[in-house]
Amino acid sequence: MRVVIADDTMLTREGIARVLADAGVEVVASVGDPESLVREVIRTRPDAAVVDIRMPPTHTDEGIVAAGRLRQEAPGIGVLLLSSYVEPDYAMRLLESQPGGIGYLLKDRVFDGVLLVDALRRLRDGETVVDPTIVARVFERRRRVDPLATLTEREREVLALLTEGLSNQALAGRLHVTERTVEAHITSIFSKLGLVDEPGVHRRVLAVLTYLRA
């Protein structure tokens, strides 16, 4: 798999490059700003890009804007955005602004090469990636009446993985069950929560996050 890295901090850029190289991923370019990112992606046509959300010039949401441009310039590319903040709202804003093939990971998740490579593969396969810490935060929220209380232990596990952006097939692989079983769980969960199952992983994740954060 070929990857482009964009982060304005050289230490982080090099760190990610080393972790990826260590995991056998080819880093074809490593840049520090959005303009260079778009240019290098057009030039090298990678499978995925790892992009810091905060980049010059304003250090706010340049990464998200760049992700939108990448998806126009190189359709089919997976974009994994990195953030230092455990803020579900940032992840949701990202999912809302992009049609799919997009991921939101915390930066300190990235030094686990296996996890990082897994996230990039999932993006390449058209799945969505939402950091487990974010999902955990949404799930752990204290509520007066907890809708998740009606779910079984197994159903909560399925819902969490589903919210992280796994497809039915990936879910089945992760839980060592058949896809039919996964589908049955999902149908049960959605009916208990009163949700309509949305077509497509991306929209399904958004629907669940929106529901849980309401």
């Binding site: 901090t9 803020e87 030094f111």
Partner: protein, 583 residues
């Protein structure tokens, strides 16, 4: 700074002028014969001209007397009385049966009438240049006129105007020179009339709306008068003057109408001036009765019609000025505006910023007695107290916002510095761990795993620390998103019943956030069941309602909200916070 011309004081001089006006008026009405065998005055030519001429002269005398009695400064009443006297001068000059010396003197002074028009204008404009121009015109026309009567021999005048009788002031008979001087006088009249007319129009165009409203009647009348005098001068250049020539009769009637209008507009000004003085006197009485703060400005605006008039009070020794409510005010005086100090003893207790044209500052100064000045001083002290309070409030706000800004920078620095370095360290350890794993170094692998876990823990701590210093989500996404994020961390269920999605000033957002965060902490300590939060935007106020928070709201929350001009009200377990948010 331009000061209004001083009010005529010295009562005896004033009364003498008024008496002169009365005597002259009496003579005009009773003494002058309406008709003569020879028609050498316009009054003798037709009853209409006679009546109108009498009305004109008398109204000038009355207008001048009224202005003198009312003590009005601009235009001076004395000028109007003089104009009234000069208006009758041609009648005296043309009085065949009159005393020759009177006739001669009257003929000599009659051409000075337009100079008085210039003098009225000069009194309105003020300043050295206007006075000099006026003096120069008087000297020139006076000299021409004196020369004229000294050489003009009525016996040799075929037109017999204004008299055929002998002249008591004739020095030597020089018809050619008399003709020349007569022409020069006519030219001077034209020049003067046109100049006054143009100057008046210019002043009307340039004046502020307020002074235009105040003076336009008088100025309009002056323009007409200037025009009619110029027309009369042109007629004199074109033909030989005679009361039987319809051109001259028309010119006389026009002049009479214009001067009458001038007198009437002056009376109207006097009337308004009196009303203003009365209102000022009432104000002075009101001031002595300890009025509500700011009433001086309100009353003065009503009295003068100057809607932008300000009463400012000096505060402290730094030359700062504030309005009655203590709000800072620039003593900036725009075009046509000026400032006038009101004093108590040697100390300035108030400063009036007003239109140049309208405020009878000296009149105000006269009516303000010691008690009124003491009241003004009281108002100044109250304004000073309020100003100091505003200062303290502004200072509190600055301290809070400066602290917030410092914390925001600190968070940013932690994020961009220490956090990035720790991340880089984690990557390095991670790669080392990979290498150790491949080369089968079991002990190193275990140690590196431990190192990675510790780095991760340090990163988590650092992130919590940074979030505690300043929640980045608040400044980036606003109070609604930040509260949702807080709800996900809170140990006690936090329900967001209604939260405005709007953005507010950073310090406002931070204050609201701090109130809710404090409530969640107190609720967690006291095992509360649920917190319900509402953030509403009502009429420039952010209203924050937190229900279910037990215990006391700590002083730092009160301080923070108070510094932003807001307030905290606690009823039972409901905390209600109001923060003025300007927009």
């Amino acid at each position: 700074m331009t000061r209004a011309a001083p009010v005529t004081r010295g009562g005896s001089g004033r009364l003498i002028l008024v008496a002169l006006a009365l005597v002259c008026g009496g003579f005009a009405v009773t003494g002058l014969p309406p008709s003569e065998p020879l028609v050498t005055t316009y009054g003798a030519a037709s009853p209409t001209a006679h009546v109108l001429g009498q009305v004109t002269g008398l109204s000038l005398l009355v207008a001048g007397s009224l202005a003198l009695l009312a003590g009005r400064a601009r235009p001076p009443g004395a000028l109007l009385v003089a104009a009234g006297v000069l208006w009758f001068a041609p009648d005296w000059a043309g009085w065949e049966g009159g005393v020759p010396l009177v006739r001669g003197v009257a003929a000599g002074v009659a051409p000075l009438l337009p100079v008085l028009l210039l003098a009225v204008l000069a009194s309105l404009v003020g300043g050295r240049r206007a006075r000099l121009a006026c003096l120069a015109a008087g000297v020139v026309i006076g000299a021409l006129s004196t020369g004229f009567v000294a050489v003009d021999d009525p016996f040799l005048d075929p037109a017999c105007w204004p008299t055929c009788s002998d002249s008591a002031v004739l020095v030597t008979s020089r018809p050619d020179l008399a003709d020349l001087l007569g022409q020069a006088l006519a030219v001077a009249r034209v020049v003067l009339g046109v100049a006054v007319g143009a100057a008046v129009v210019g002043r009307l165009v340039r004046a502020s709306a307020l002074s235009r409203r105040w003076e336009r009647g008088l100025l309009g009348a002056m323009a007409l008068t200037g025009g009619s005098e110029a027309a009369y001068g042109l007629a004199l250049l074109a033909r030989v003057e005679s009361a039987e020539d319809s051109l001259f009769v028309a010119s006389y009637l026009a002049r009479a109408g214009a001067w009458t209008l001038l007198a009437l507009t002056s009376v109207e000004l006097t009337w308004r001036h009196r009303a203003r003085r009365r209102a000022l006197s009432r104000l002075a009485v009101d001031l002595e009765r300890a009025p509500a703060p700011g009433s001086l400005a309100v009353t003065l605006r009503a009295v003068t019609g100057d809607r932008h008039l300000e009463v400012l009070y000096p505060v402290g020794r730094d030359g700062r000025h504030v309005s009655a409510d203590g709000a800072a005010a620039a003593e900036a005086t725009g075009t046509g505006r000026t400032s006038t100090p009101l004093r108590r003893g040697t100390q300035t207790v108030a400063l009036l910023v007003h239109d140049l044209a309208v405020l009878p500052v000296d009149a105000l100064d006269q009516v303000l007695g010691p008690a009124a000045r003491l009241a003004l001083e009281n108002e100044r002290l109250a304004a000073e107290g309020l100003a100091r309070m505003h200062d303290v409030q502004a200072s509190r706000r600055r301290i809070v916002t400066a602290g917030d800004e410092a914390r925001r920078r600190l968070e940013r620095d932690l994020h961009d510095g220490a956090q990035q370095s720790l991340l880089a360290l984690a990557y390095t350890v991670r790669v080392a761990r990979g290498a150790a794993g491949r080369s089968g170094q079991g002990v190193a692998l275990a140690e590196l795993d431990l190192g990675l876990a510790k780095t991760q823990a340090a990163l988590d701590d650092l992130r919590d620390l940074a979030h505690g210093i300043h929640p980045a989500v608040l400044s980036e996404a606003g109070i609604g998103v930040a509260l949702r994020s807080l709800a996900e961390r809170s140990e006690v269920p936090l329900e967001l019943a209604e939260v405005s999605a709007e953005r507010f000033e950073p310090s406002i957002e931070l204050a609201a956030y701090a109130v809710v965060r404090d409530a969640t902490e107190r609720a967690a300590r006291q095992d509360a069941e649920v917190l319900v939060v509402r953030v509403l935007h009502r009429d420039d106020v952010l209203v924050l309602l937190v229900d279910g928070a037990p215990g006391e709201v700590p002083p730092e929350i009160h301080d923070r909200v108070g510094a932003l001009g807001g307030r905290v009200a606690v009823t039972g377990t409901r905390v209600r916070v109001e923060l003025p948010c300007g927009s």
